[in-house]
C-alpha cells in the first residue's frame, strides 16, 4: 500500500466533516455539493447566494493552498474528451435523480444514519468499483 496516506486523509476528512457541521450550525443546510449545485439552476434568487458562496469557497481553497506552498497537482483525468463528458453527464443526472453524491449521502447522510443515504452510498460505491474493475482489468488490462 505504497500510495496510502492515512494521516493527511484523516485530517482532510475531519475538515470536510467540520465544514458539514458548520454549514448546518450557521445556515441549517446540508453540505451536499450536488444538491448545492443543482439548486443553483432552479432555486429562487434569495436561495442562490449562499450556494454561489459555497462553490466560490470550494474553488478558492486549492488556490489558497497553492499560494501557501501546498502542492496542488494538475488532476490527471483518464479517458478522452468524449468519455469525460459522458462521465460528467452521468454524474450530473445521477446525483440529481438520486438526490445526492459522495458528500450529501456519503458523509452527511450516513452521519445521520439515513437508510436512504446508506443504500445510495453502497450502490454508487459498488457501481464505481465495478466500472474501475472493468476499465482497468478487463478492457484496459
Amino acid at each position: 500500500m505504497a500510495n496510502f496516506t492515512p494521516i493527511s486523509a484523516a485530517i482532510g476528512g475531519a475538515l470536510i466533516g467540520l465544514s458539514a457541521v458548520l454549514l448546518m450550525l450557521f445556515n441549517g443546510r446540508i453540505a451536499g455539493v450536488s444538491g448545492i449545485m443543482g439548486g443553483l439552476v432552479n432555486a429562487p434568487g434569495s436561495d442562490r447566494l449562499w450556494r454561489i458562496a459555497f462553490i466560490a469557497g470550494l474553488i478558492a481553497a486549492p488556490l489558497a493552498a497553492g499560494l501557501a506552498g501546498y502542492p496542488v497537482p494538475m488532476p490527471k483525468v483518464p479517458g478522452n474528451f468524449a468519455i469525460i463528458a459522458i462521465a460528467g453527464l452521468l454524474v450530473g443526472f445521477g446525483t440529481r435523480l438520486g438526490s445526492g453524491c459522495t458528500s450529501g449521502h456519503g458523509i452527511c447522510g450516513i452521519a445521520r444514519l439515513s437508510p436512504r443515504s446508506i443504500a445510495a452510498t453502497m450502490v454508487f460505491m459498488a457501481a464505481a468499483i465495478i466500472i474501475v474493475a472493468l476499465t482497468r482489468h478487463v478492457i484496459g488490462g
Binding site: G57, P75, L90, G109
Partner: protein
C-alpha cells in the same frame, strides 16, 4: 452573513479535499480499484477520509440537531425516508460516471481552480446533466413541477 458562513464552509471543505488528496482522480481511482489489493497497490485513503468525516459529522450533527441555525430561521434536515427506484437508479448512474474518471461533484468543482481542460469538460457536462434532469422532471410531471424542484435536494 449566511453567504459569508457558506463561503467559509466551502473553503474548509475544499481544504479538506486538497489535504486528503481527494482532489486527485488518481487517488480516488486507486481506492476504487479493489482488484489491486493482491498486488499491494491499493490505496485505502478514501476510506480513512470517509471515516474521519463521518466521525466529526456524526458527533457534530448530534450537537447541532436541537439548535436553530445561527443565520437562518430553521434547519433543513432531509425528511425523505423511503428507499425507492429514483434513489437507487440515480446512485448507480452516478457511480458509473464516478468510476469512469474518478471525479465526483466536490472535487470536480475544487479542481476548476487548476483550469484543467479535462475538469472543465467534466463540470460543463455535469451541469448539463443536472439541467437535463430538471427539464425531464418538469416535462414528466408539470403539475407538481414546483414541488419537485423545491424538494429536489431531499438528501443533500
Amino acid at each position: 452573513m449566511p453567504a459569508l458562513a457558506s463561503l467559509v464552509c466551502g473553503f474548509i471543505f475544499g481544504l479538506g479535499l486538497v489535504i486528503s488528496g481527494m482532489v486527485s482522480p488518481t487517488k480516488v481511482l486507486g481506492f476504487l480499484d479493489v482488484l489491486s489489493i493482491p498486488s499491494g497497490n491499493w490505496d485505502p485513503s478514501l476510506a480513512v477520509v470517509m471515516a474521519a468525516g463521518l466521525a466529526v459529522t456524526g458527533i457534530g450533527f448530534a450537537l447541532v440537531r436541537p439548535r436553530t441555525p445561527v443565520f437562518e430561521s430553521e434547519s433543513r434536515w432531509p425528511t425523505a425516508s423511503t428507499i425507492n427506484r429514483p434513489l437507487l437508479t440515480g446512485a448507480a448512474l452516478f457511480g458509473i460516471g464516478w468510476g469512469l474518471v474518478g471525479l465526483c461533484p466536490g472535487p470536480a468543482i475544487a479542481d476548476l481552480a487548476t483550469l484543467s481542460p479535462a475538469v472543465i469538460d467534466f463540470v460543463i457536462a455535469m451541469m448539463l446533466g443536472m439541467v437535463g434532469y430538471d427539464l425531464w422532471q418538469s416535462r414528466a410531471a408539470p403539475q407538481i413541477e414546483s414541488k419537485v424542484l423545491n424538494t429536489g435536494t431531499a438528501d443533500g
